[in-house]
């Protein structure tokens, strides 16, 4: 039977984050003056997603291994070597979060698929989230709009402040107005590459599940296609399917938002932890390496071994040997050799090597 215990700490952190977001909606939209009421359903989806994401993130951080890396990341970043680690942090963030380049060695087409999909999503987030929260809005420049002889200027406002303007009909205008269409195409191509992989890769076929692997792709393509439908319906069909497109788009986007904390999309929130791991291992290697008592070779940082001893102890796992050494002092190869030697010894003592 389904049972769930509310994590109070996570609940209050999530509630606080949600209230903060609502306050920023009021402030950013100048008391809802610039809020677009047509986006109210998206706002509810975003608010719920914020609560869910922060709640799950806070629960996740409370797991001892996660907390270890979270804590160590900030300790190391703000240690005496702040500047080199900040540079590493930024470099890895651009490379591995912005471009997801760590996927490239896993396969060229796989990286292209993910890069296009993620770039499309990030572009769309960058535009739609501030729009939904009422943080950005557009107006016509009053002076140019009154004069039929001059080309019209369009103004973009952030938090109620004018940040830039562009001429209607210009290249910039075309890029700004069509950014969501372009991002939809990026998502569609990316999803297409992943669907191809999932139809042809035997390993994926054996291990994939509908909920974990196909539903995210179906959802993303539904969002992208209906989003494109909103624009192309006006451009080519005279708005005849607008209602269908608008409702389907809203439903799919809201399902996407609400599902982020529960499903595969939560990896978007988890991924930055990888940057902390780079800092952790760089600092650990600098401090000194652990040497395996069996192989006599360095295998990981001493900091990693010591942290794992503390972590396993906290988790109720006890690898200590005779109260002094630990099985964790051995490298993976050393551990396998210890097992093999113990097996040999048991066989020798029984008087039979085989049987």
């Amino acid at each position: 039977m389904f049972s769930y215990h509310l994590n109070k700490k996570a609940f209050w952190i999530a509630a606080l984050a949600t209230l903060l977001l609502l306050a920023l909606v009021f402030i950013g939209s100048r008391n809802l003056q610039n809020f677009d009421a047509a986006l109210i359903a998206y706002l509810f989806g975003t608010v719920f997603a914020t609560f869910g994401i922060v709640y799950r993130y806070a629960v996740w951080l409370q797991r001892p291994p996660t907390w270890l890396y979270f804590k160590r990341t900030w300790q190391i970043l703000f240690s005496g070597r702040f500047l080199p680690y900040l540079w590493l942090f930024l470099r890895k963030s651009v490379r591995n979060i912005g471009f997801q380049y760590f996927i490239r060695p896993r396969g060229g087409r796989r990286w292209w698929g993910h890069f296009l999909l993620a770039t499309g999503c990030m572009l769309a987030f960058a535009v739609t989230i501030p729009l939904t929260l009422g943080w950005i809005h557009f107006t016509m420049n009053p002076a140019t709009s009154m004069d039929p002889a001059v080309s019209k200027l369009y103004e973009a406002h952030l938090f109620g402040f004018k940040v830039f303007e562009f001429r209607l009909g210009s290249i910039i205008a075309s890029l700004v107005f069509n950014v969501l269409s372009w991002s939809s195409w990026l998502v569609i191509i990316g999803v297409g590459l992943f669907i191809y992989r999932r139809f042809t890769n035997g390993g994926l076929i054996a291990t994939q599940s509908f909920e974990g692997d196909w539903l995210p792709l179906v959802l993303l393509v539904a969002i992208a296609v209906t989003g494109l439908g909103l624009s192309y319906d006006y451009a080519f069909l005279g708005g005849t399917t607008y209602e269908f497109m608008a409702v389907t788009h809203a439903v799919t986007v809201i399902v996407f938002l609400v599902w982020i904390p529960f499903g595969k999309f939560f990896h978007i929130i988890q991924r930055p932890a990888q940057i902390g791991v780079y800092l952790y291992h760089t600092e650990g290697n600098r401090k000194g390496m652990a040497v395996c008592p069996h192989t006599g070779k360095e295998f990981t940082s001493q900091q990693h071994v010591d942290d794992l001893k503390a972590l396993t102890h906290e988790l109720g796992i006890d690898f200590t040997i005779n109260g002094q050494r630990s099985h964790l002092d051995y490298s993976p190869e050393g551990k396998r050799s210890m097992l093999a030697q113990a097996h040999l010894k048991a066989r020798q003592e029984s008087g039979r090597y085989f049987g």
């Binding site: 797991r63 896993r106 390993g203 054996a206 295998f299 050799s337 039979r352």
Partner: protein, 191 residues
């Protein structure tokens, strides 16, 4: 996972490290596994090359309560309804190597080029379709065997399958068995 319907629950994995002759056939065969992305995930190494030619072979033991999953900060490792502990979820794994260093059997690989942990997942593309893992089909010396308990009893009447291990003070129970002397119930790694 439709193919999971064909998983044979009466089949088990049996390892006998003393039978390993270090031929590396399993290493080559393992790379045929599609769920590994054609990367070999089995370990064959000399135990103490300066003093003996003894080799050992190690597949994932698929622990009942996997230490690798417990120390994973990213919830990337999961166990399915058949007790198979799957390799890291590629979307979640952050490449920290906690699992690599904490696994008592020394099984997971950190694939530095992929920034990803990978490990044996019992050839899930094959076992979920009712077939045997690649390594067990090619092992010439019987160090790796996949079959029923009854088959193993007939083949090795003087041995018992053991799936309890003591690493220091930690007892680990696994899905995969190690063939031990007939009366053994546990393999103590350190006395």
């Amino acid at each position: 996972m439709e193919t999971a319907n064909y998983y044979k629950t009466d089949m088990e994995f049996f390892i006998d490290m003393q039978r390993c002759i270090g031929c590396q056939a399993c290493v080559v065969a393992c790379a045929e596994c599609e769920t590994n992305g054609h990367e070999s995930m089995i370990h064959v190494n000399y135990v103490d090359r300066a003093h003996t030619i003894q080799t050992t072979v190690q597949v994932c033991m698929h622990c009942e309560d996997p230490v690798c999953a417990r120390v994973c900060p990213a919830d990337a490792i999961s166990k399915d309804e058949f007790g198979v502990v799957h390799t890291a979820n590629t979307a979640r794994c952050i490449g920290c190597s906690n699992c690599v260093m904490a696994c008592p059997f020394g099984v997971p690989f950190k694939q530095e080029q992929y920034d990803l942990m990978m490990k044996c997942n019992l050839c899930y593309d094959r076992t979920s379709a009712g077939k045997k893992p690649m390594c067990a089909t090619v092992c010439p010396s019987g160090a790796l065997y996949y079959g029923t308990r009854e088959e193993m009893r007939r083949m090795r009447p003087q041995s018992s399958p053991v799936n309890h291990f003591l690493f220091g003070r930690e007892e680990v129970t696994t899905k995969v068995n190690v063939m031990m002397p007939a009366d053994a119930t546990v393999l103590r790694v350190y006395e």
